[in-house]
């Protein structure tokens, strides 16, 4: 896998308008995904963050505007060529009961295969490497449905890696995982980024997004309201404006990033007694 850091952006959208039936979800939106870093899209429910990811991955066709992948209009690329250039993990994918980890990850080779060339030695090598990189090689012969949620998510990420791309789009990869497994999965995503991958993901958990992303895209009602490094973007004003969340932003005691401390209606001690060293 080759590192593409500092290269021109590989993925972006120009003036895209996307909607379902009579509802416009994204309105004339421009976005550029920087290469070689982790970009995370955050925003309140229904702001269009999954829609943006689905548009960038060509699952949704914009009414207007274009999505550019490596300089090509993605709508004009063959489906197969898109799959060779980017790996996509949709929300909560399903695997048939009894399918083994190795067989699932092997499916990632599909865009490189044809009827007469269904399992070359290249395929075997790439799949073995994908299993190793995601730490699921020991589970290769286990059925996917016998694994824990976190392991399962590792296996799916392994499948997208087997596509042989260094551009990964992940739609809420930590949904329904407990915190320990969520951290485990997102540490893996960070490993992949260290290995040279460009990652775009949607996350619900703001503190995970802040901790792990180099570039945040903050969305509200179908528009991008802020974009940049978490340390510059995340402020209590922004959280109030976009999420309607009362919160204090403090220095994270274990990383060099901000930490969001939400303030609810209850369980908040009077200000004079607060100790936020």
């Amino acid at each position: 896998m080759t590192a593409l850091r500092n290269d021109a952006a590989r993925l972006g959208a120009e003036g895209v308008t996307v909607g379902y039936a009579d509802r416009v979800v994204l309105d004339n939106l421009d976005v550029t995904i920087p290469t070689g870093v982790i970009t995370t899209v955050i925003g309140p429910n229904g702001c269009g963050k999954s829609t943006l990811l689905r548009t960038l991955s060509r699952l949704l066709k914009p009414r207007q505007g274009t999505v550019l992948l490596d300089g090509h209009d993605i709508a004009r690329l063959k489906t197969k060529d898109v799959a060779k250039r980017m790996g996509l993990l949709p929300q909560m994918p399903i695997a048939p009961e009894g399918l083994t980890v190795a067989d699932l990850v092997a499916r990632g080779r599909h865009p490189h295969q044809s009827w007469v060339r269904q399992w070359s030695s290249d395929d075997a090598d790439v799949v073995a490497e994908a299993l190793r990189m995601t730490g699921v090689a020991d589970l290769a012969h286990r059925p996917v449905d016998s694994l824990s949620g976190g392991q399962r998510q590792r296996v799916w990420i392994s499948m997208t890696l087997a596509q042989g791309t260094d551009l990964l789009l992940l739609d809420e990869p930590t949904t329904y995982l407990d915190l320990a497994h969520a951290i485990d999965v997102i540490d893996l995503v960070d490993d992949l980024h260290e290995g040279g991958c460009t990652v775009v993901m949607v996350l619900h958990d703001l503190n995970l997004a802040v901790r792990y992303s180099d570039n945040l895209i903050v969305m509200k009602s179908g528009s991008i309201v802020a974009q940049g490094h978490p340390s510059e973007v995340i402020t209590s004003e922004l959280l109030l404006d976009t999420f309607g969340l009362q919160a204090r932003v403090i220095d994270d005691p274990v990383s060099e990033r901000p930490l969001i401390v939400p303030i609810g209606r209850t369980h908040v001690v009077p200000k004079s007694d607060q100790n936020l060293g």
């Binding site: 379902y20 991955s57 060509r58 699952l59 063959k78 489906t79 197969k80 060529d81 898109v82 799959a83 060779k84 790996g87 996509l88 993990l89 949709p90 929300q91 994918p93 399903i94 695997a95 048939p96 009961e97 009894g98 399918l99 190795a102 067989d103 092997a106 499916r107 990632g108 599909h110 865009p111 295969q113 044809s114 009827w115 007469v116 060339r117 269904q118 399992w119 070359s120 030695s121 395929d123 075997a124 799949v127 073995a128 290769a140 059925p143 997208t160 596509q163």
Partner: protein, 345 residues
């Protein structure tokens, strides 16, 4: 990880168990086929059957086998194969074990149209090699389209598809009953015999039509089914893996409907084969999804096996459709119960 079979630039995954089980099923099917053309009012010894098959049999045997019994056995074989593959396709695409052409209304839509043609034409259509098959095919296709559009809501949801299929299926059976109630008594007898699913009195003409149409459809399925494999993970993952799932689904569903239609037109709405053959084949080859080829082979085995039992073991020549249900049902239940016991252990 699975090893590969590689010849030049060509390569496939090597799954010994799948190949072995499919081969055993094929051999079993061939043996049942031979027994089926050997037994009857005039029973021929098996060695004589083999000699006749390679063209070195006696005159009498040749007449009995080639002219009298072969057409029936061949139609059974092809109809079973078509139903097995059709069921495997619909179950794979809907990602639901219940989604077989019988449950989705395709089979009964085909038979309602066929009965309509039989009763409206005063029975003339039964003897024609074109009329009945064409009616059944058209009926199957129209019903499939109806179910598909009723079930469509920003994509196909397996559960909704089955609910609508069951409703349409019931409506089509009601239409059939209504047509029979209105029809002339002689046409009713003819239609009824066809409706329970039967391989009686097949001619070579019917064999060739069924055989060629099925062969062409199976060829398309074999080529396109490579694109089916990522579709077991849902539309989004399939698209992410470079599959144009809309087109692939349309082609394969069309093939499934046509295969079921051909089967219905050749042998009547033989129940249960399309539902049960893929599920049994899947458990025998230990595959997480319905295996297309093994489903077809098992369908053929189930159908000609049932026909043999119907003719030889049971009294007064029951139609094959009754036997497929009697055998297939309990066998699937047995496999399901065994899986439960294993899981509990």
């Amino acid at each position: 990880m699975h090893p590969g079979v590689r010849v030049g630039g060509w390569s496939w995954v090597w799954r010994p168990w799948v190949v072995l089980v499919t081969l055993v099923l094929a051999v079993a099917t061939f043996l049942v086929f031979c027994v089926s053309i050997a037994v009857g009012d005039f029973t021929i010894e098996l060695p004589a059957v083999f000699r006749t098959l390679i063209g070195q049999g006696e005159r009498v045997d040749e007449f009995v086998i080639m002219d009298l019994r072969m057409p029936r056995a061949l139609v059974g074989l092809v109809v079973g194969l078509a139903l097995g593959i059709s069921g495997a396709l619909t179950q794979s695409i809907a990602r639901n074990a219940l989604a077989s052409p019988d449950v989705l209304g395709i089979t009964f839509g085909a038979s309602a149209t066929a009965v309509f043609v039989v009763t409206a034409s005063g029975g003339a259509a039964v003897s024609s090699a074109i009329g009945l098959p064409a009616a059944a095919l058209t009926g199957g296709l129209l019903t499939a389209l109806l179910v598909y559009f009723l079930a469509w809501r920003r994509g196909i949801d397996g559960f909704r598809l089955i609910l609508i299929g069951v409703s349409v299926s019931a409506a089509m059976q009601a239409v059939t009953t209504w047509l029979l109630a209105l029809a002339d008594i002689r046409d009713v007898a003819r239609a009824q015999a066809w409706l329970v699913g039967s391989l009686d009195s097949r001619s070579w003409n019917e064999v060739w039509t069924t055989l060629w149409v099925t062969a062409a459809l199976v060829l398309v399925v074999v080529v396109v089914s490579f694109q089916l494999r990522p579709m077991h993970f849902g539309d989004d993952v399939a698209a992410g893996l470079g599959v144009r799932y809309g087109a692939v689904r349309a082609v394969l569903l069309l093939c499934a409907v046509l295969l079921a239609g051909v089967a219905v037109s050749a042998a009547g709405p033989v129940p249960f084969v399309a539902l049960v053959a893929p599920q049994i084949a899947m458990r025998l080859v230990r595959s997480p999804v319905p295996p297309l080829l093994a489903s077809g082979v098992f369908g053929a085995l189930l159908l000609i096996g049932s026909d043999l039992i119907a003719r030889v073991v049971l009294p007064n020549d029951l139609p094959v459709g009754i036997v497929t249900a009697i055998i297939g049902g309990p066998f699937l239940v047995y496999l399901l119960v065994r899986a439960n016991v294993k899981r509990a252990a």
